[in-house]
Point group: C2
Chain length 484, copies 2
């Protein structure tokens, strides 16, 4: 069944036709996702059991492939784009972003070097400067000086690159790998420990510093730990501060971290993956406090700025240590532009060599929404979270488990972990909303993250009703009765 | 300018309308790309100069954004999808792949855990088994045993994961990080050295083993190096063999590498990023020779199997060392399915935590083309390369610079480097084709990689005519006259 033209490729005309069908599929998904059970209820192996045991030998019609997606996969999907998705983080995609991704896939260029597609590199550098301006980042992170920005796939990769740059800076000064010591809080994302392990550090080369009552890093404890290590002959080389921890959106005191690190010459990386996007609103710009002393920082438009995964914005104040850490130049990549020093080659700013044209979707998003539209929706999410906090605080069955500075609300049931677990199970089994959990001070906590693109006030109200009904069930059950 | 509905989001109906326009944009790009100069001729800064200095404050209409893409970016694009693109590697996208990417972006799910979208994980495991079957990989790489496959963004990340798994296996046995020794050939991709550096190895902990006359790794030299290191107290822990080197598509002798590594318990990773896809054709299945003794391998559908970047297929024979290297489980990711041990959590198979639904596009490609269609086009590319080899060999102005086992042809001008450089400059400046270069035995070599989706015999013929005309210019210039 060779297709028209003698080969098997999809012609541009067939792409037009099938592309329209694929767009219709996505549009309908956007319309219908609200009605799907948010958390997939399939059992392990259910989806594989529907797939052909062997790869197809004969070509299939695109209509048949597309028609198969729903019946085969859809009930195995946990719907991150549902307005009733309140788990993990928002991961909020949007129409302009998805269409930017489509164009990027169609262009199919490689951005590993400036020379392999100059527009891919220059647009990226430019929109990262735009982002820095929108968020009010310190001047040092703009590309006009020795610093600048790059898109990473995720904040995990950003912290790995920061760690590698910090390691390069420290070891070039003569420090041995085995003497390096890194610091972050007990509430930091697991990606910090993963990066340290990847980079060849032993587990005891990462110190998890304690936190205060709001789950933010205790800068005095950090200072003491660094001083003690330095006296013991260890070399504090990196501190990772978090602006919006995963568990509870705690905001580490970046300025105090910078001050503590300064005496040791340690690199300060600020992981603002979760809360950084709030900086586009002047009233939330405090999330950038202290950044003028940081060496690198990142935030995730793919979490809370209407850009589909992957799009992590990573900035460094000085690109030299990053290049020292990651630049290896084989002959087959040499070119006049790189050797002139006049261009950026982003392959040296990341772990992999190849890279997609991810700036296109961010450019689309920034232009479609404008600063005005982005601020409108971020404010709306924070306002909804604050309204929810009010409801929680007025209800004796619930406890607010941590401060809710922005769009994450952490709650637990007054009656304890078993009751809280029951709330979680009831909500998630209902299919009408999806929450994830964490532990704070050893206690089980429900995380309510507000920020899916389609989430409106009515969805938060419906979630509150669900939680309230679930709490009634808990209160009525014997095991939740307080002892007495 | 809040949009209909009070917010700034793109409604499903507007997505339908703008999606159709975006599909039309891509279809027209597919039709017109053949006529564009392949290599962008812009100077550094040209593209940025066209972009607004500051981020937009007011929302823009999608029509305006889309209309801007061409004038602003297109002459800054090096056209990897042009049928006249013969540089680096094919990076061949296709309609079904691009539409799979569109659906993946629209679904916007996270595949970090099985639980965060079971279909995302199970389809990936399944199509990697399909790929293993299509390529005739040894049974050990199927998910039905202790091994299995995963999609990485690139072969760079795959080799890093292999190295980290090998490091975990070796250091769990008590070996110290500083005593580890890795091996690859002088012709291996720079990603091996980059991975070693990221993992905390010193430069001298990676031995670059010499090659034979065909630029393939010299297995006897490898054996001697490993034995010598072991006698000196070093611990050979990893060998990376390449099936299709970047410079000349040399094929390392995998079975001999496996034999050399066996006595030291070293992990063998086979990087078949470039040439692995050929294994779908029985007559080229020799590219998998020796794999039954390898610990891991990878190949890139985003290079030569009509799947847009990123899609690297990475298989391990035993997933345990990989999980030992990369698994860190914070409370907020705990879930019943993971704890049952009945599911795969792909976050533990890669560097980042987050991951896109990349299996969808590969599933679309495998079903659209079928084994039959994929084989047809891979065979066509190899046949075109062989025809070109014949023309080169029959023309005294050119020298075939290396064996051309599959779809890469390496040539140089008989008159030396200056003449070869002139060929490269003339071809690339013409805009009618794009070649990249390398050095083999210190001599400048042009690489002609055949495999863009739209490349047909007429394009290879036109390239040959271009090269021939360029060689005439070289021969006519005084500097190319042989001394005498």
């Amino acid at each position: 069944m060779a297709r028209p033209g003698g080969g098997y490729h999809m012609t541009p005309d067939e792409f037009r036709r099938q592309g329209a069908a694929a767009v219709e599929w996505v549009a309908r998904y956007m319309e219908e996702v609200e009605r799907y059970p948010v958390l997939s209820q399939v059992a392990p192996g259910d989806i594989r059991a529907r797939l052909a045991a062997h790869p197809p030998e004969r070509p299939e019609a695109f209509e048949d492939i597309l028609a198969d997606v729903g019946p085969t996969l859809l009930d195995g999907i946990t719907h991150w784009q549902s307005p009733n998705f309140f788990a993990y983080f928002p991961a909020n995609a949007s129409g302009p972003s998805v269409l930017g991704e489509l164009l990027s896939a169609g262009l199919g260029v490689q951005g590993m070097l400036w020379a392999t597609s100059p527009a891919c590199t220059e647009l990226e550098t430019h929109v990262l400067d735009w982002m820095a301006e929108l968020c009010g980042l310190p001047e040092r992170f703009r590309s006009t000086g020795p610093g600048g920005g790059v898109i990473q796939d995720s904040a995990s990769s950003a912290v790995l690159c920061a760690l590698l740059a910090a390691r390069a800076r420290a070891t070039e000064g003569g420090t041995r790998l085995e003497d390096l010591q890194a610091y972050t809080s007990t509430q930091a994302h697991s990606s910090v420990a993963k990066a340290a392990r990847i980079a060849g550090l032993r587990d005891d080369q990462l110190t998890l510093v304690g936190v205060d009552g709001d789950y933010a890093l205790d800068a005095e404890a950090l200072g003491r730990a660094m001083a003690g290590d330095a006296r013991a002959g260890r070399a504090p080389f990196l501190v990772v501060a978090t602006v919006g921890t995963t568990s509870s959106m705690a905001i580490d005191p970046v300025a105090a971290v910078v001050a503590a690190a300064a005496g040791h010459g340690a690199w300060v990386h600020v992981d603002a993956a979760m809360s950084g996007p709030a900086a586009i609103c002047p009233e939330f710009r405090w999330v950038t406090d202290g950044l003028e002393g940081a060496d690198s920082c990142c935030t995730n438009p793919h979490k809370w700025l209407f850009t589909n995964f992957d799009c992590d914005c990573f900035w460094v104040a000085d690109r030299a240590p990053l290049l020292d850490a990651l630049s290896i130049l084989p002959e087959f990549l040499r070119n006049a532009a790189s050797e002139s020093g006049a261009v950026i080659d982003y392959r040296d700013w990341q772990v992999p060599l190849g890279r997609r044209f991810r700036a296109l979707k961010l450019w689309f998003v920034l232009r479609w929404y404008g600063g005005e539209g982005l601020r409108h929706h971020v404010r709306e999410h924070v306002a909804l979270a604050r309204e929810l906090v009010g409801w929680v605080q007025a209800d004796p069955r619930f406890v607010l488990a941590a401060p809710a500075p922005l769009n994450l609300v952490c709650i637990r049931h007054t009656a304890g972990d078993e009751a809280t677990q029951s709330l979680l199970d009831q909500v998630n089994a209902s299919g009408r909303a999806y929450l994830s959990h964490t532990r704070l001070d050893e206690r089980l906590v429900l995380r309510i993250s507000i920020g899916a693109t389609a989430t409106e006030r009515r969805h938060v109200l419906a979630l509150w009703q669900l939680l309230s009904d679930a709490a009634d069930v808990v209160s009525a059950s014997p095991s939740a009765t307080p002892p007495g």
